[in-house]
Subunit: 354 residues, 2 copies
């Protein structure tokens, strides 16, 4: 397969972890006979430094022309801690998601057996957890009309959803469930909210086209409990923007190792893949940043293009590194392995099992 | 002190657990020389059976005339599982909260040392956790304008808050923090929502009148993580209705024993105290229901009237029961102690330490 991949290293540890992901993609090219073309462009604080704009037009155009975007991380204390800053690095990512029409955020939640001791949950609860959250990313209350009366004493936000906004992400979630364990849980608050009742109606209807997928429903307050009490009940979780923000962040910590979590943001024409961790500026250039989340975001990119074997080859190489203790110090304080060494090990262990 | 207390036993295990709470209040009357007058009235399914109305006018009037309401639980499968039911038991509680103007829900989250093994979290994380959530209960998106267009394809809910709605609960929360460890955390989403920015502005302003209380802020998605990662950082948590629903339910499970959690719903003229557990109809009349949450809701009632010593006497008697293993089978499957026996033990151990 030929793929044009836009590389947006961004700020902080972004460039160094992204480098390891590219190493792994190159190993996949070689092992499985694909041709990936990489083009790099600035985004975030580094783009503000160069052009005054966190998402320069050239960067945006490169992303639009690419098949997919591989993203590092964004943010720099120089701008984040300056209350007078008019442009902020994060605006680059928000604008990019919007311009590319990335309406679905995908967050896998998986517990690595070798790291289970790091979970805040007891082993018997978290063992075997493996689910994926599909969060609507461009609608709902974060983007609805905001009002503040003249006196500044009454404020409001509107949560609005259309059938179209719900159905496009619902189809993605049902398809994901078909490729997994055939279970989809819609998280809503349909006993109270009109928008949730529309979600339930539309998702129920679409579910009829996926008869092999078992559909169930959970109110968001109950979901917040179930993520802790019994995370193994979940396969694919589908939810709106605000609920997805809360539940996916809650779920991100139950595995105990946020440095391993990747995410995808998907639209009809494009897709972006990135680690969920931030730019961690204190670690920049020290060769200590954990590259695994970035490497796993490359695996998600491959899965997006149906390259399942290739993605599995990356995942297996990651598992091998974790099992052998080839990890950065955040996972094992006695480890002396750096970002580059871990990346090299994983790339070197990408093999075709066929 | 003289207090008129309305007793609303409700459905399922409500009457039997409420009986134990009353036993304890009677022991407090005797030990500390108070006079409490109890008047009972039906609510929920049992009120529907009798009158067709889950909150009969007489019950509402009794509550309005009382100083406080002690509530059992509500709900019966006969109505809950009937999609054609026009009146539902739960409507009784919702209407009661509204009619009494109960705008603040208070949910203490506390880990009992003897039950720490039941928590889904590891002991080193949950040990010592003791915080209280103040959730706004009558505003926000649950009560805002709901819309559905004629075609049924676009739905919306409005989240609106006024300065007045925020300030009245904020004062209660700051006062609670003053009586505790002087820390208040406002949970909002002020980086995105206009209503959250109003919360932050109003709460910050009110905080100036409580200089001894340290005020900090947490975005709701981060709060959902922190409840699991480091629950000991919290003292008093203040938040709006929807966020409070999610965060307080999430927090309710980290102690591992939902059967021990009480709550208060407070307004300017009245207050209602109840266990957070449901009516558990399968256990009705079997003398197996755990009465501790109901008994602790009576302790919250006493605290509401500044009877701190009296409340502490109840809490110490509860601790003694837990330490001695005088508990119902839900906490210890080998235990043969029933609802009544546990209630008697706790009431008998209420002593004045002075
Ligand atoms: Mg978030
Ligand atoms: Mg709830």
């Amino acid at each position: 397969m030929n793929l044009n991949i836009a590389l947006l290293p961004g700020d902080g540890i972004g460039p160094e972890v992204l480098n390891q992901a590219v190493k792994c993609l190159q190993a996949v090219e070689e092992t499985f006979n694909h041709t990936f073309v990489y083009k790099e462009a600035p985004v975030g604080a580094i783009a503000i430094d160069k052009t005054g704009n966190p998402l320069p037009d050239k960067t945006l155009q490169l992303c639009k022309d690419a098949d997919a975007v591989l993203f590092g991380s964004i943010g720099d204390p120089k701008y984040d801690n300056d209350p007078k800053a008019k442009v902020r690095p994060e605006q680059g990512l928000l604008k990019l998601r919007k311009e590319l029409g990335l309406y679905t955020n995908v967050r896998p939640v998986k517990v690595f057996p070798t790291l289970i001791g790091k979970s805040p949950l007891k082993e018997e609860i978290i063992s075997g957890t493996d689910f994926t959250i599909y969060r609507e990313l461009t609608g709902g209350i974060y983007f609805g009309e905001k009002k503040l009366n003249e006196e500044g004493t009454i404020a409001s936000d509107l949560c609005e959803y259309s059938e179209k906004e719900i159905s496009r992400i619902a189809h993605l979630a049902f398809k994901a469930a078909k490729n997994r364990r055939n279970k989809l849980t819609l998280v809503d608050k349909a006993n109270v909210l009109e928008s949730s009742r529309l979600w339930r109606k539309v998702v129920t209807k679409i579910g009829e086209s996926y008869p092999e997928v078992e559909l169930d429903f959970l109110f968001v307050d109950n979901a917040a409990m179930q993520v802790i009490l019994n995370p193994n009940q979940f396969d694919v979780v589908l939810t709106e923007n605000l609920f997805g923000d809360i539940i996916s962040d809650e779920a991100s910590v139950i595995g105990g190792s946020i440095g391993l979590l990747a995410s995808a943001s998907i639209g009809d024409e494009n897709a972006l893949f990135e680690p969920i961790h931030g730019s961690y500026p204190q670690a920049k250039g020290k060769d200590i940043a954990n590259p695994v989340a970035s490497i796993l975001s490359a695996a998600m990119l491959l899965e997006h293009f149906q390259l399942f074997e290739e993605a599995m080859a990356i995942r297996e190489a990651v598992d091998k590194a974790l099992q052998k203790g080839i990890v950065t110090p955040d996972l094992d304080e006695k480890s002396n392995f750096g970002t580059n060494h871990v990346g090299d090990f994983i790339a070197d262990n990408i093999v075709d099992n066929d």
